[in-house]
């Protein structure tokens, strides 16, 4: 028995997050991931996945890069950031979060980013694998107007699931006042931390930035509540796939546009009209005329999972698509996947054949998400 395809490449100089010792103590199985040593699982991916769907899961996402952005003068940071992102950032309210793309001149996605408007600054959370590229890009285009300050002094944890609120309310009842994509503060004794009601699992949940030297102590305190289970990268991936959410490097790349990725909803009408962002010409033309390919969900008939890299064929044996993420869905008990498919074949229930290691698997185009989101939106 030999593992055929390691999904995570090794790296010689791995960094440790502030929670490294705790991961080891909790029996985490550590793997190299985006330059960090992080747990892929503790007890098991399926058990941790269920904890997040049914109770609460705790994820260390400190590998993601927090960057605070301020202006060199009195101009609005959001207005300047709109020059590199097609999202609505001028209109973003204080303490609100927004998901948007950084785009390049051809309309491709440089990164998918969470923007938060805080007092006198914006906070960006960048993908670990893209952070260096993003910072170079941001500095090259906006470095004469904005100051980018990476916050490697902060650990970032994510608490996801229907019981996340009760886990945190014991420490600070005010967190209940936050709605989905809203930021605030949470107090753990003397320590005040930035918190937002957000996450990447489709569940209600929170993300908390904690000073590195206090992170372990606060996480230990949170874990005293046994409804909260530590969860690893494995469960994080199966949860986001069920929620139909994109992963940079799988669904998103510099040659994929937000329109192809089915992320047009991140581009408000005002931005489609002003067209003052990189790649606006391509993106706006696609918004009007459509795209040749589009991101869809795929469900396999049978039990065998379809993994990323599998090609999709039509009834004439022509290649019409490519799977970008796939695996077993613990919530539905079935294999699920996402991928890009030629637009004429993207209709729901359309039957296709995937080829997985030389074997043909029947599958159909499925609506996303596979598991309904349960965010606590403001009324």
């Amino acid at each position: 028995m030999t593992e055929r395809k390691p999904e995570i490449t090794s790296n010689n100089e791995l960094k440790k997050t502030a929670l490294y010792d705790l991961h080891v103590e909790l029996g985490g199985r550590l793997v190299p991931f985006a330059g960090y040593e992080l747990p892929i699982q503790y007890d098991g991916v399926i058990a941790e996945h269920r904890a997040a769907r049914e109770a609460a899961g705790l994820f260390d996402v400190s590998h993601m890069r927090i960057v605070d952005v301020s202006s060199m003068d009195s101009s609005d940071v959001g207005e300047t950031l709109e020059l590199i992102a097609p999202g609505g950032l001028i209109t973003l309210g204080h303490n609100r979060l927004r998901y948007s793309m950084l785009t390049n001149d051809t309309g491709g996605i440089v990164d998918d980013v969470i923007f938060t408007r805080m007092a006198n600054r914006f906070r960006l959370v960048l993908n670990a694998s893209r952070a260096e590229i993003d910072l170079k890009y941001l500095n090259a285009l906006l470095g004469d107007q904005l100051i980018f300050r990476p916050r490697q002094d902060l650990a970032l944890i994510s608490i996801q699931g229907p019981k996340a609120i009760s886990v945190l309310q014991q420490h600070d009842p005010a967190v209940a006042d936050l709605s989905f994509m809203e930021a605030g503060l949470i107090n753990f004794g003397e320590t005040e931390c930035d918190i937002s009601r957000s996450g990447y699992t489709g569940e209600d949940g929170f993300e908390i930035a904690i000073p590195n030297d206090e992170a372990e102590q606060i996480v230990r305190l949170l874990l005293l509540d046994e409804t909260l289970k530590p969860a690893g990268l494995g469960a994080r991936d199966t949860l986001r796939l069920e929620a139909g959410l994109c992963l940079y490097g799988n669904e998103l790349s510099e040659s994929t546009t937000p329109v192809e990725a089915n992320l047009s909803w991140t581009i408000p009408k005002r931005r489609r009209q002003d067209q003052r962002f990189p790649g606006a010409h391509t993106i706006c033309s696609q918004l009007e005329k459509g795209t040749d390919k589009t991101r869809v969900g795929v469900t396999a008939l049978g039990k065998r999972p379809i993994r990323d890299g599998a090609q999709l064929f039509n009834e004439n044996n022509q290649i019409v698509g490519l799977i970008t993420s796939g695996g077993y869905s613990p919530t539905t008990g079935k294999p699920i996947a996402m991928g890009y498919i030629d637009t004429p074949y993207a209709k729901e229930d359309n039957y296709l054949t995937a080829v997985v290691r030389g074997k043909q698997i029947g599958c159909t185009v499925a609506p996303l998400p596979f598991v309904q989101h349960r965010y606590k939106r403001s009324k």
């Binding site: 028995m1 030999t2 593992e3 055929r4 395809k5 390691p6 999904e7 892929i40 699982q41 098991g44 991916v45 399926i46 494995g234 199966t238 039990k303 065998r304 999972p305 993994r307 695996g327 077993y328 613990p330 294999p335 290691r357 074997k359």
Partner: protein, 130 residues
């Protein structure tokens, strides 16, 4: 980690149980633990002729796909159909209900070429993944 005394073991982490003219084959406790939650087992067809050390089945976990190699050359005479619906048995009971197949070896004497429990334990303890 369990390594029953009566079994033989391959360097690819399969176990082999001698049953008269046949051998029953599965993956070891060490292997199932390293794999993580098993979600799919691709079983061979009964009647397939297999050569030793070549892949003849696949086991897929939430994390990865791995090959199962033939510990002995021979013919597949039975496969564990239950794994099609309950692949998690590979994790829950690797030496029992989680067995993979029964092989009629070309030469049952080749069993002696496989490791006994003691040697397998020593082998695993040198494995960097252990």
């Amino acid at each position: 980690m369990q390594t029953p005394e009566e079994l033989r073991y391959s360097k690819d982490h399969e176990w082999v149980r001698h049953e008269g003219a046949y051998v029953r084959v599965g993956i070891t406790d060490f292997a199932q633990d390293a794999l993580g939650d098993v979600v799919y087992v691709d079983l061979p067809q009964v009647g397939t002729i297999i050569a030793s050390d070549l892949a003849f089945a696949e086991v897929e976990s939430t994390k990865s796909v791995s090959d199962i190699f033939a510990p002995l050359a021979g013919e597949i005479v039975e496969v564990n159909q239950v794994l099609e619906d309950e692949p998690e048995l590979v994790n829950e009971d690797p030496y029992g209900d989680g067995w993979v197949c029964v092989i009629k070896p070309t030469d049952i004497g080749h069993l002696e070429l496989l490791m006994d429990a003691e040697r397998y334990l020593a082998f695993v303890s040198q494995d960097p993944e252990a």
